[in-house]
């Protein structure tokens, strides 16, 4: 298998290297990829949409249809992960462990054992691997609000600087994942439950598609944000800018929800009791 693989890979590589002879030189401004539609996008973006970041305007306005279905693909991946892994929660069959909050002592309760602990003083801990690091917990605790603030900034400021819905959504999702990794999955589930993370992704897709349908209902084409000028007290150019913002918020919600959802399913193997 190894030699066969090497032969196949070598053949593919040789074909591709021989094809590079006909490529335009690296960094050529006259290469065919940058001659057809992209000059028009670059020249007109500021005029037509009031968005200086050409990537954002092409992503959400000129090629909004493409992005809408990319968002749908992400949502579908979240659903697929859920359907593959999720199992109904069983009622604590294994020996469970509790930690006394003040002293850090850990108690292990055998299988079938019943004991009543004052839950304010004890917290349940994971059965496999239970490090308890005060410094990591507190540092992450104080870092997470700033990470989330930065994520919101990235979504909202994507018009003028690198950023946008995809990046901001991933950063927001990563802040929840950081909470789960630094504390425990249970803490993250308390802050953002399964239903909320699962709802975020279809709601994001719905905001994106709903913006398009709204434009359609106002008598314009699908995802033609000029239609929003009839609702907002702005001209058609600024309306396109606001439409892009609306769509970016939808993308951010969908991406954030899906990232957290997939992580929870993977980290707890679909049982949602304990995990990474």
């Amino acid at each position: 298998m190894k030699t066969l693989g090497l032969i196949i890979v070598g053949l593919v590589g040789a074909v591709l290297v021989s094809a590079t002879v006909n490529f335009p030189p690296f960094g050529d401004p006259e290469s065919p990829a940058s001659l057809h539609v992209s000059p028009r996008y670059l020249e007109k973006t500021l005029e037509e949409t009031a968005v200086p970041n050409a990537v954002t305007s092409v992503l959400a306005d000129y090629r909004g249809f493409d992005t809408m279905f990319e968002t749908t693909v992400i949502f579908c991946a979240g659903v697929a992960c859920f359907l593959l892994l999720r199992v109904p929660r069983r009622r604590l069959p294994r020996p469970r462990q509790y930690r006394h909050r003040l002293t850090g002592l850990t108690f292990r309760i055998k299988e079938g054992g019943e004991v009543f602990l004052p839950l304010r003083e004890f917290e349940p801990v994971d059965s496999i691997w239970t490090p308890h690091d005060f410094i990591i917990e507190k540092v992450c605790r104080y870092l997470i609000p700033f990470i989330q603030l930065f994520g919101l900034y990235v979504i909202a400021h994507g018009h003028h600087s690198p950023g946008g819905g995809f990046q901001g959504g991933v950063i927001l999702g990563a802040s929840i994942i950081l909470l789960s990794v630094s504390h425990s999955l249970r803490t993250a589930l308390k802050r953002m439950g399964e239903k909320i993370s699962a709802l975020f992704s279809p709601v994001g897709v719905f905001i994106f598609a709903g913006t398009g349908v709204l434009c359609l209902g106002l008598g314009y084409r699908f995802l033609d944000y000029q239609a929003l000028a009839t609702l907002l007290p702005v001209g058609p150019i600024m309306a396109r800018s606001y439409g892009i913002l609306l769509v970016e918020v939808g993308v951010g919600m969908a991406v954030m929800g899906t990232m957290v959802w997939i992580f929870k399913n993977l980290a707890s193997r679909g049982r949602y009791d304990e995990g990474l």
Partner: protein, 81 residues
């Protein structure tokens, strides 16, 4: 674009990629893949694709490494090749 930096990072990317598939430990492979993604992010920043570099820094080096570690945590670190 500075070609010396470009060449250096391209070499590092190739080494990280080879390391990620050669190492006999899946956790190590996950970490090396994270390093690979981060080098890729630097490469895109050099090329001027700032949005793509931003996405790769948050997605490739952040979230996908966590996904790999979660999967390895629930399976095994052992690998034969």
């Amino acid at each position: 674009m500075i070609w010396q930096l470009d060449l250096l990072i391209l070499t590092l990317v190739v080494f990280c990629g080879i390391g990620a598939i050669m190492i006999r430990d899946l956790l190590g492979a996950a970490i090396l893949f994270g390093a690979y993604s981060f080098m890729m992010c630097l490469l895109w920043a050099i090329m001027g694709a700032v949005d793509v570099a931003f996405t790769e820094a948050s997605v490739g080096a952040g979230v996908s490494t966590v996904f790999f570690i979660a999967a390895v945590y629930h399976t095994t670190r052992r690998t034969k090749d």
